[in-house]
């Protein structure tokens, strides 16, 4: 894996020491990451979700986009997840895995939050924190 990707994964492990973090290398020095059991807030029926994302080889320069969560994510108020969250996806893209069996695909909702302004280099860790806050505060 590229040095920037290894660094990013290490930062995630430090940020989330009590969560299961699964890593599968892609073909070009990047990695697909799944973190299990991230807590959700009161808007949702489910108490937690897995979160998946692709850290490309050009981390930390590249944005981390999009993110993926459990496909059955539902709101207490029965409203759809809302703008920026689309169902019918799967994660990760199996054709991009270095080892085809390293991370089975799971059905997913895609969470699309693009980083528009760059105040500082936004690492995958920082981006994940932002995305989770956005999901919880929907």
């Amino acid at each position: 894996m590229a040095p920037g990707v290894k660094q990013a994964i290490e930062e995630l492990r430090i940020q989330y020491p009590n969560y299961a973090i699964k890593i599968a290398a892609d073909k070009h020095g990047g990695a697909f990451v799944v973190i299990e059991g991230m807590p959700l807030g009161s808007p949702y029926i489910q108490s937690d979700t897995w979160v998946g994302f692709h850290i490309t080889y050009n981390c930390p320069y590249a944005d981390t986009y999009p993110h993926f969560v459990r496909s059955d994510l539902s709101r207490q108020d029965n409203n759809p997840p809302g703008e920026g969250m689309t169902s019918g996806h799967s994660f990760p893209q199996q054709s991009e895995l270095l080892d085809p069996n390293s991370m089975p695909a799971r059905p997913a909702i895609q969470v699309s939050r693009v980083s528009r302004r760059r105040e500082a280099t936004e690492t995958p860790r920082l981006k994940l924190i932002k995305v989770l806050q956005w999901i919880i505060n929907r």
Partner: protein, 486 residues
């Protein structure tokens, strides 16, 4: 780097202009006396086997405090000052270079006292330097000599120093006698920069990233100026939609006739497959203008190892490609290896609803180790970087909005504006003619208004690419890997 090849390589020092100015003023304040300093330099091995030492930090020794009367020689650097510098070099894997000056103008050499002090002190410095060379530099006003000690105990002399100010300046231990060649074909232009300038162009190696509308014009201009060596990087083939803007291209290059709608799809596909790579067209144009040019066409993008190795061996880089990956690698190479360059682009934009033109401009952005970089100035888009790193399949699966690829407008006359300014800036830089007061800022040429504006790029001290804080790529040479796809 293996020790055997280190000993047989040529060594050159590359110094950013601002660092050199500060050093020069410190060494030659007008008192005619001797002064000292230390330079900490990165190291880079060039494709031709030579070694570039990249001046990254400058520590000026204060007279009477850090630089004091010597016990054996006239002056010496104090142990505390040396210790602080050599520890930094050890920790950051940099080359320690002690600096002082002699009198004189155009030639310089170490005295016997100087060389004796090296023999006394440098074996111990090598022990501390943990595998990195150490050495000394001595300056006259317009000359430099260097004594480089290698980890295997061998010593090499510094061949020259290259100063990257508004113009490039070369310093050597003594004036170098050049046999200037005279080619009547260049008579009109040598009246600007002389036969010596023409020889400089002949001996210069240029990298052009992107041989589309802008890059193709740059290649022709440089070839007609008499630049002798080209590295051309572009993965694409010519298409019907871009051949009008690529100088020297013909309809046969893109098999235009066989791409007409009435041909069956397999014929049109074959025609596209057989279309000429853009680098080959540029190579043909260059040869027409300068049959003696050495050309290395690379049909790949800047992610390829071959492309990067070739670019690192260049004296100057032109970035005329659209991709963010190309911008990232170009930006890294400029700052990590101290190869000056320029990014050229043009834009035509319309008001969304009415379709009215809102802006038509060309930009020329010099990029060099002492100006803010493309990353600092938010000219490398992180989202586009991520998109370029993904496969078509993944990209299609992840598309949130069903947006089609937007095709940017492009016009040859607009491309020519940026190309002309950028190549002319290069010409004055490489021949030493650019005024020391010349602006090195970004220039934007606004066509609708017929005016130009200059924008000073910002620089972030903590930028990972160009910042002066430790940990950045600046002047690191081969120590830090470039951001390349595996």
């Amino acid at each position: 780097m293996d020790h055997q090849s280190l000993a047989t390589s040529k060594y050159r020092l590359i110094v950013p202009g601002g660092l050199f100015s500060r050093l020069h003023y410190h060494l030659f304040p007008g008192d005619g006396d001797e002064h000292g300093a230390v330079i900490a330099a990165g190291m880079a091995k060039m494709p031709d086997g030579s070694i570039n030492l990249l001046a990254r930090y400058l520590y000026l020794a204060e007279d009477g405090k850090d630089y004091v009367p010597g016990k054996r020689g006239y002056r010496m650097l104090k142990a505390e000052f040396i210790r602080s510098c050599i520890f930094t070099c050890r920790d950051e894997k940099l080359v320690y270079l002690a600096v002082h000056n002699h009198g004189g103008e155009d030639s310089v050499g170490f005295s016997s006292d100087d060389l004796n002090s090296h023999e006394r002190g440098y074996p111990a410095l090598l022990d501390i330097a943990a595998g990195m060379p150490v050495g000394a530099l001595v300056f006259a006003r317009n000359a430099i000599a260097g004594d480089i000690w290698l980890p295997n105990g061998k010593r090499v002399a510094l061949e020259s120093a290259k100063v990257l100010g508004t113009s490039r300046k070369i310093l050597t231990p003594a004036p170098v006698l050049c046999k200037v060649s005279v080619d009547p074909a260049y008579d009109r232009q040598t009246r600007l920069f002389g036969d010596a300038g023409q020889d400089i162009l002949r001996d210069t190696t240029i990298g052009i990233i992107g041989l589309g509308g802008v890059g193709a014009i740059i290649a022709e201009y440089l070839a007609r100026l008499g630049v002798g060596n080209f590295v051309l990087i572009d993965p694409q083939k010519i298409e019907i939609s871009n051949f009008p803007r690529i100088v020297g291209a013909t309809r046969w290059d893109c098999f235009a006739f066989f791409q007409k709608e009435f041909w069956p799809s397999p014929v049109r596909s074959l025609a596209k497959f057989l279309s000429k790579p853009k680098v080959k067209i540029a190579a043909r144009v260059i040869r027409q203008a300068n049959k003696n040019a050495n050309i290395k066409p690379i049909i790949a993008d800047t992610q390829s190892k071959e492309a990067v190795e070739a670019l690192i061996g260049c004296d100057y880089l032109f970035l005329a490609a659209d991709s963010m990956s190309a911008r990232l690698i170009f930006n890294q190479i400029v700052h990590q290896y101290y190869i000056p360059g320029v990014q050229i682009g043009s834009k035509i934009s319309h008001e969304e609803k009415s379709g009215d033109l809102t802006a038509v401009f060309s930009v020329v952005r010099p990029v060099n180790p002492e100006k803010g970089c493309l990353w600092c100035n938010q000219l490398i888009n992180p989202l586009k970087l991520q998109e370029e790193a993904q496969s078509e399949k993944e990209l299609k699966a992840n598309k949130y909005l069903d947006d089609s690829n937007v095709i940017a407008p492009s016009v040859i006359t607009l491309n020519a504006v940026g190309a002309a300014h950028a190549t002319h800036d290069f010409l004055l830089f490489i021949t030493g003619l650019m005024s020391p007061q010349a602006s090195n800022d970004y220039a934007r040429y606004m066509m609708l208004e017929r005016k130009s504006e200059i924008v000073e790029p910002r620089r972030d001290e903590y930028c990972s690419e160009c910042g002066t804080a430790s940990g950045s790529r600046l002047g690191r040479g081969d120590q830090v890997p470039l951001t390349l796809k595996y």
